[in-house]
């Protein structure tokens, strides 16, 4: 076989170089895949991807970032050669303006910034603070959805050749599935940890409320009863006054216990179902609220509880933050899915993780195998929704 017949030396050298680069990429990909298959911690996988991208592309620093769907990104990992600048890892990084990664998040295709010195906005400012002068970013797409980006950076302006976009994009495509798998595991672990923490925190809150409320009133009541016992034979008038006080303390203790019990699990939900329970929550909401749809049949207990708490939390948020004039609540059911939607006409701008309690709701819904949605563009109202699978039998 003649093999390279017709190729001159420079062609042959180029083909060899390309093959070598391809082999390096394949080896890097294999290392990432092996790491994922070994059940390595997601943080370790993300860090390795950054390192491999850096090695394969010969760049000085790389980041891996996930788009959160609320106008922010979480920078999951970073790698750099000694002394090279790299963007710090962390959540709640804005995705605005003309930074390379922000353009990728909007357009879904590779992009670059050759000189950050003239760009305005918080993200370019933070990129400059990290010592980065230029970068190339490429999207990571998982199951047809834009998941995040790989970003190659440099401390010097105009330091990336023309083909960098294609090479970063190529590697991003290769690692997408491995990343998605590691990311799903990380999200699951984080969600479980938050559920446990939320449970612990709720128990601490209940203990404090019981101790400071009903328990103190009952202690006072016990002491008052002792006094009454002593006063009965000596000063019946005083005993009578103490009895009145004792009855008032007891009534307050009962009120506080009822309030606490309602917060733990509303009895009306278990006994009478979602309709009456939601009507009570809606009646307590100062904003004009309407229940527009409700399934005819009861839903499983865990689904009813999730729907109830989602509506209660969403209405609390509407009251506190939305500046809305009206809100609708709709609960519907198809054969396999229960869906709840709470929509208000307020100012929008809500986000998961902004101290709104929405993160806990999302965790509760996801723990039931459901999906949580938040649509809250500024000025366009807010819709909090969830779809939760309903097991059917027979």
């Amino acid at each position: 076989m003649s093999g390279g017949a017709g190729l001159d030396t420079s062609d042959r050298a180029e083909i060899v170089a390309r093959l070598r680069a391809l082999a390096e990429e394949q080896a890097a990909l294999r290392r990432v895949a092996t790491l994922v298959a070994s059940g390595a911690e997601p943080a370790e996988v993300f860090a390795r991807v950054c390192e491999e991208v850096g090695g394969v592309l010969g760049v000085r620093s790389t980041n891996l970032t996930r788009f959160e769907g609320d106008g922010t990104q979480t920078v999951l990992a970073g790698w750099s050669m000694p002394g090279a600048p790299v963007f710090p890892v962390g959540p709640d990084v804005p995705l605005e303006g003309q930074a390379a990664v922000a353009k990728v998040s909007r357009r879904g295709r590779p992009d670059r910034v050759d000189d950050y010195s003239t760009l305005e906005g918080e993200l370019p400012e933070r990129i400059r603070e990290a010592g980065i002068a230029s970068s190339v970013a490429a999207p990571i797409t998982v199951s047809g959805e834009l998941w995040g980006a790989i970003v190659a950076s440099s401390g010097r302006a105009y330091s990336f050749p023309a083909e960098t976009e294609a090479r970063v994009a190529g590697f991003a495509e290769l690692v997408a599935d491995a990343l998605a798998s590691a990311d799903a595991r990380e999200k699951l672990a984080a969600s479980r940890a938050r559920i446990v923490e939320a449970g612990d925190s709720e128990r601490r809150r209940l203990e404090r409320n019981l101790h400071d409320g009903a328990q103190q009133r009952l202690v006072t009541l016990a002491l008052a009863l002792g006094e009454i016992e002593n006063e009965l034979g000596v000063d019946p008038g005083s005993a009578q006054r103490l009895l009145t006080t004792a009855r008032e303390e007891l009534a307050l203790a009962l009120d506080e216990l009822r309030e606490l019990a309602r917060g733990i699990h509303p009895a009306i939900l278990g006994e009478h179902g979602l309709g009456p329970a939601l009507e009570v929550v809606i009646a307590r909401t100062p904003v004009d609220a309407q229940l527009t749809a409700l399934p005819r049949m009861r839903l499983p207990e865990s689904v009813e509880a999730a729907v109830y708490y989602l509506v209660a939390e969403a209405l609390t948020n509407v009251t506190r933050h939305a500046q809305a004039s009206a809100v609708t609540v709709a609960v519907t059911r198809t054969k396999d899915i229960a869906r709840v939607e709470v929509h208000d006409d307020g100012r929008g701008g809500a986000r998961v993780g902004g101290g709104s309690g929405l993160r806990g709701l999302a965790d509760r819904v996801e723990a039931l195998g459901g999906s949580f949605e938040l649509d809250s563009a500024a000025g366009a109202g807010t819709t909090v929704a969830a779809s939760i699978p309903v097991e059917t039998f027979g």
Binding site: H211, D212, Q215, Q216, R217, L218, V219, T220, A222, L223, A224, G226, E227, N230, E249
Partner: protein
């Protein structure tokens, strides 16, 4: 001579009730404090014979306050009080120099005299 008492508890309802009960039994309540810092200041000024100290206070723990009260005046009878389970608190209280522990709902002359 009446036994002078300082009541340290952040719940005003309990302080009011305890004062009535103590005064009905011949004690003289010379001071009330809703937190640890006030308790230490008042103990310094008033030198009560007895201090009833709630285990949970908003600033310091009652155990810490008890220890510091005993340091101010070793003759002061410091008795911890709480509405929490006494079984959980007694062992910790013993290490503070407090004379003992009384569950709040069982506060009575008999319970107090045991520690004077």
């Amino acid at each position: 001579m009446e036994t002078t008492v300082l009541v340290v508890d952040d719940h005003p309802g309990f302080r009011r009730c305890a004062r009535r009960l103590l005064e009905a039994h011949g004690y003289q309540v010379v001071g009330e404090a809703a937190d640890g810092a006030t308790a230490l200041r008042e103990a310094h000024e008033l030198r009560p014979r007895l201090a009833l100290v709630d285990v949970y206070l908003p600033d310091f723990s009652g155990f810490e306050v008890a220890e510091r009260l005993v340091a101010i005046d070793p003759a002061m009878a410091v008795v911890l009080i709480s509405s929490h389970d006494p079984a959980e608190l007694k062992p910790v209280g013993a290490a503070t120099g407090a004379r003992g522990f009384i569950p709040k709902e069982l506060l009575s002359r008999e319970a107090i005299e045991e520690f004077l």
